[in-house]
Symmetry: C2
Subunit: 492 residues, 2 copies
């Protein structure tokens, strides 16, 4: 129980609670390399579940995986004017390709003779290297569309890092598609936004708002950036995934033309879209509590843990045999289950540990349960404990897992709705934004007004929501016309 008691409460210090939880729940830790994390087996198992589900969704929408180089020639970054202008320059730069033994024989030094003619950048994102490749793949409209995704590591030399939320190296997927028409590319960007939205809502149980980014927040080189935005328990927004309509910008930068059906050359239309290990941060911050992680059953590496209570080996043997039948039945229903009958940890310690790790359902079987034909069931989301007949327990557990998945989604949705407020004046806005949460307000559509609001309140436009109230109005700051209310928040 020691570890659990050490966990800072959310109400005391949300940020510290998060940092501690990621480490104590064995999800990830800082590495010896500045800003780079080690994703530990338990954390990686959650990420793998996310990957598998997303990958199936990408394939169901016609995409294939491929792999492009980690390194990008420095000159590629400056090919697309907006991309180089807008994209952060904090990249890892490879300048040499060889080490040699040091003169004292005790270590290695960089061999000055092995200097690269052109420096290479570790990919911060792959539009440039991929579009330089697509140039060779595309000649005619028959070669289109190209619907590729890659699962990869990328690196951005961030100065202030936090596990999962902002790390120098992170894991992600990046889709890069090429199309013959503007309409098809716009549809693709929209389709992938909806894939992300479905994934966040249905599997992560994170209710997100779909919308369009303002020009200020748009991806460097995109004509339009779509986003899903989540609201964390501390009232700050977290961007969970983006899908970009890139127009013909990258095709022009890398001279990628195709012969259309009318036999005329035309530049190719593009999209790119990605989600990253940042989703782990969204998952943790949306559901977890002062006892530790709360995981949606759809992504929990262990959905059910079974703990025996016994006084001697004879009792344990009886429980073991009962549990083995139960495990087979649960597995037959597709439920992942762990039986923890290790004798070097006391039940109370195990309980606290699996609560910390967010295992959705705990079953406890003792000698008395065996006599009574019962079993104790604890659900992690509400911490409620009940005793049930062991007869029919597997179906009960299956239904309970579904219920937990829905319950934590609705709980998060309720929290978001209670923390989404509509204001009409800038004074109101300033008051409400201090409370945290989403604030819906009218804005005149200019970058200048957006920057002023950000400078004065630290709030940014998270998105122009696709759904909801579309009534026009006047900007709360300038009084100029506004097409619809937009979603503001302070954000991670």
């Amino acid at each position: 129980m020691a570890e659990l008691k050490d966990l800072t409460k959310r109400s005391e210090n949300y940020s510290q609670w998060y940092n501690e939880l990621v480490v104590k729940a064995d999800l990830a830790e800082q590495s010896a390399v500045r800003g780079c994390m080690v994703i530990k087996p338990y954390g990686y198992a959650i990420w793998e579940k996310m990957q598998r589900i997303l990958d199936d969704m990408f394939k169901a929408t016609g995409h294939s995986n491929a792999y492009f180089p980690l390194l990008i020639p420095k000159s590629y970054l400056s090919r697309e004017a907006d991309h180089v202008e807008g994209f952060a320059k904090e990249c890892a730069v490879v300048t040499h390709y060889r080490l040699k033994n040091s003169a004292d024989g005790k270590g290695v030094v960089v061999d000055p003779a092995a200097k690269l003619e052109e420096e290479m950048i570790i990919r911060p994102t792959s539009e440039t290297i991929i579009w330089s490749t697509y140039k060779n793949w595309i000649q005619s409209y028959r070669d289109l569309p190209i619907l590729c995704n890659q699962w990869a590591n990328v690196l951005r030399w961030e100065m202030r890092t936090r596990l999962f939320l902002r790390t120098a190296e992170f894991l992600w997927q990046e889709g890069h598609t090429a199309h013959a028409t503007r309409e098809e590319a716009e549809t693709e960007a929209n389709t992938m936004l909806h894939v992300y939205n479905e994934f966040a809502n249905k599997y992560m149980a994170v209710p997100v708002v779909m919308g369009v980014k303002s020009a200020n927040e748009r991806f460097a080189g995109a004509l339009e950036t779509y986003t899903i935005e989540g609201l964390m328990q501390d009232g700050k927004a977290l961007q969970c995934g983006t899908s970009h309509f890139l127009g013909q910008n990258f095709a022009k930068a890398f001279d990628v033309q195709f012969i259309n059906k009318e036999n005329k050359p035309e530049y190719v239309w593009a999209t790119s879209w990605g989600v990253s290990t940042r989703l782990m941060g969204a998952l943790i911050m949306t559901h977890s509590d002062d006892n530790g992680l709360v995981l949606p059953p759809a992504l929990a590496p262990i959905q059910v843990v079974i703990v025996p209570i016994y006084k001697n080996n004879e009792q344990l043997a009886v429980i073991d045999s009962k549990v083995n039948v139960l495990i087979d039945e649960l597995k037959a229903l597709g439920i992942s289950v762990k039986y923890d009958n290790a004798d070097n940890r006391r039940p109370g310690f195990k309980f606290a540990d699996y609560e910390l790790k967010g295992v959705p359902v705990r079953l406890v079987l003792g000698a008395r349960d065996i006599e009574n034909g019962t079993i104790e069931v604890m659900r992690r989301d509400t911490l409620e404990k009940i005793t049930r007949p062991i007869e029919g327990i597997t179906e009960f557990v299956k239904a309970l897992l579904d219920e937990i998945q829905l319950n934590i989604y609705h709980k998060a949705l309720k929290m978001r709705e209670e923390n989404t407020r509509t204001v009409d004046t800038y004074e109101e806005f300033k008051q409400e934004i201090e409370k945290g949460g989403f604030v819906l307000a009218h804005w005149d559509g200019t970058p200048e007004t957006e920057e002023l609001i950000k400078a004065e309140t630290k709030a940014t436009i998270r998105c122009i929501p696709l759904a909801g109230d579309k009534t026009p109005g006047v900007c709360m700051v300038t009084g100029k016309p506004s097409a619809q209310r937009v979603l503001f928040a302070r954000a991670y």
Copy 2:
């Protein structure tokens, strides 16, 4: 058919045949970055199938996936003496962490102010960064074993590269395990060798020889390196996977000790093991022919392709409806199937293309087949065509896929057996090694003799086989005692 006719024959130039095939079959291509490849969707789909099967095998043997940083502080490489001494120094070196706009405003340059205090290396392999992490994970024997694997990209700045066989960046998995006893670590290294062996034989249909590496060929830092070695069609050997017993070398280098059951500190025992995208090269070179790829059904992204032959849309509509039923039946048996009724390519072109891509079974359905209740079946491994009743065709195809899997394995095994020869004298050895293939000969066990043989014949000891003839003898070069014959070959 144009593309197919362009494929160089193996007998003319094996190396050129390989290079052309990889590109023409859409598996991979050179990128704009020296020595780094782009793995195209069709090639990546094969790699994904390999990954999925291997990953399941790793998990079935108790391993979990995790993720460690891409970058390694330069000083880490010199912590383990043999590792720094023996491991190639050709690494990509990161020296800076920021770019800035160039003075002329047209591009970007490296910001000299953003120089790293200590240079970072892009991981060529991860023993050093992982053991620096394990130090924090291990205190007591209760923390052991640690059985981690990671799927990752690694980079070694190779001067002469070939797609899949030797590239600067490549994809692989690297297992890194930590154990309380020497015996347990040795067993682990052996277990993973057998996992690789089973994977190569059963799924890749590549018959490999399991053995131990000589000291010269051992991994830098290992006490023992186990290997699986394949024999390619040109008579050259290809190392397909290695498993290393690392002793306590890395534990000592990174000071990783644990308190054992007797309450005494002890250094941890280690293994590491890996296979890479090089397996793609082994797969291609073992089975493919002058018509293109031959893929084992277990790894083929498309196991069955169906091509319609029709004169008009009415005929096509009838065929379509028949094929749709067939597709459902094949999918129900777990068979991946593609129906190519595209009207912009003629059947003959499609036939050649799917042969080039190694699809194991082709079904052709024409208007006359519909009348006769028949279907044409072509198997890629032998190129045999037969006409079968369409009734019961799915079961026939399922059995045929199994037969193809076995047939190409046995064909490759026969080729290897016919090209494995036993010699007693160095004169014989020199003659036989010229012919290509494996040569079994006695060797005195010294690095000096091994180096002499390599210098004079370009042959290396691929392994000391675990199975087979264990009769002692005398070294063919020095006449000194030899424990058993060892396996020589010229190798990739």
